[in-house]
């Protein structure tokens, strides 16, 4: 499983996304540039230029027509995937930390940062998946966080709910049409920030991870914690693997936050856990700093990780990965 190293970013990676077919990979970093890559060989397809601040987040619609990015320059920008042309820009009073298209591509959510005088929000825009279309200027609704700000957010199946992960470790469920709060759970340790949320392919459940060193799977309807993965390092990212029942977790403590060298060893690895049995089953080394983002190929044939070290590593799974199974999994259900 020799990885392909993508060199093109000069600063730490913030998010990676595959498109629906898995042939393209999009990456954002603190260096103001958005990159598109061929996932099969790591060749750079192109860049999307225009942001004037660090980039925090990227997503691509399910038809690979529109790319959306969010930045510390307080804007969301919409791009033509193929030409790299900027189609739309929305401005906010604060940085945009997370963007995500709904499963049908017709809605866009964005998490905006909380800062002196401005509360954190989630804004929702209707999107016309058409390069010629005039996109609306104003959000259809805004969710405002008076208590703990949201750090991440995602759409459930059928756009029923917006699920948010918060700075204080809570996970909340909002009505996807009105933005009304429905349910709230303290999924992670109190005041330990939730750092990632990724939906399962059918968006009926999702994985979250936190600085509390745990990752959890919750269902979108009840927000019931179904699975817990315990690690020994603060987590930045968690992903689910289609085809195999695994999860991949990434994180690691910054060198400056570690008091002894022994603690630092072996922390910059992608960790594989069995999704159902919650056991750790393997690790993949490579990065020289914490893993900030992990994305899994939609067909489950590989994954990519982006590090604080400025590198993206693309892995293609080999036969032993697909052959791996617990005894009980081999038995006839």
């Amino acid at each position: 499983m020799r990885p392909i190293l993508l060199q093109g970013h000069e600063r730490s990676l913030t998010q990676i996304k595959y498109n629906k077919d898995g042939d393209l990979l999009f990456s954002t970093a603190k260096d103001h540039v958005v990159c598109a890559w061929y996932s099969v060989n790591g060749e750079r397809v192109g860049t999307y230029n225009g942001h004037i601040g660090a980039l925090w987040t990227v997503d691509v619609d399910p038809t690979t027509t529109l790319l959306v990015t969010g930045s510390a320059d307080n804007t969301i920008r919409l791009w033509d995937v193929r030409t790299g042309k900027q189609l739309k820009m929305w401005e906010f009073p604060t940085a945009v930390k997370r963007v995500e298209f709904s499963e049908d591509g017709t809605l866009l959510l964005a998490v905006t940062e909380q800062r002196m005088g401005h509360l954190g929000t989630v804004v929702v825009f209707p999107i016309t998946v058409d390069l010629e279309a005039e996109q609306v200027d104003a959000p259809s609704f805004t969710i405002t966080f008076r208590e703990s700000k949201a750090t991440v957010a995602a759409w459930s199946y059928l756009n029923k709910y917006i699920i948010t992960g918060h700075e204080d470790g809570r996970v909340s469920q909002y009505d996807g049409k009105t933005g009304e709060l429905i349910k709230d759970v303290q999924a992670h340790e109190l005041d330990m920030q939730i750092t990632d949320i990724q939906m399962a392919p059918d968006r009926t459940y999702f994985i979250t991870c936190s600085k509390d060193k745990n990752a959890k799977i919750l269902d979108v309807n009840e927000l019931k914690v179904l699975k817990t993965y315990v690690t020994d390092t603060p987590l930045n990212t968690a992903a689910l693997t289609p085809k195999k029942d695994f999860v991949i977790l990434g994180g690691g403590q910054e060198a400056r936050d570690v008091t002894t060298t022994s603690q630092r060893q072996g922390k910059f690895e992608a960790r594989f856990y069995h999704k159902i049995f919650e056991d750790e089953i393997g690790r993949v080394k490579g990065h020289f700093g914490p893993l900030n983002t992990i994305a899994v190929h939609p067909q489950g044939v590989g994954y990519a990780s982006g590090g604080e070290d400025g590198y993206v590593r693309v892995h293609h799974f080999d036969k032993p990965y697909f052959d791996f199974a617990y005894e009980v999994e081999k038995m006839k259900g």
Partner: protein, 65 residues
Amino acid sequence: EDQFEAEVANKEVLEARKRQLDEWRAWRARIEKEVRWERVDLGLPEDPEEALREAAGEEEDKIVE
């Protein structure tokens, strides 16, 4: 005696895993059925992938015209 205990422990682990697997599979079957019904109620194709393919197909038709 040690061997006996180990065998018992192994058996327990195996049974716990079997239970976890059965629970997960039962939940998946239930939720997948629920989602299909919700989609049908909304007049959508049962499979969201199919809906996306249809939308893409329609666009291509437009170009042909």
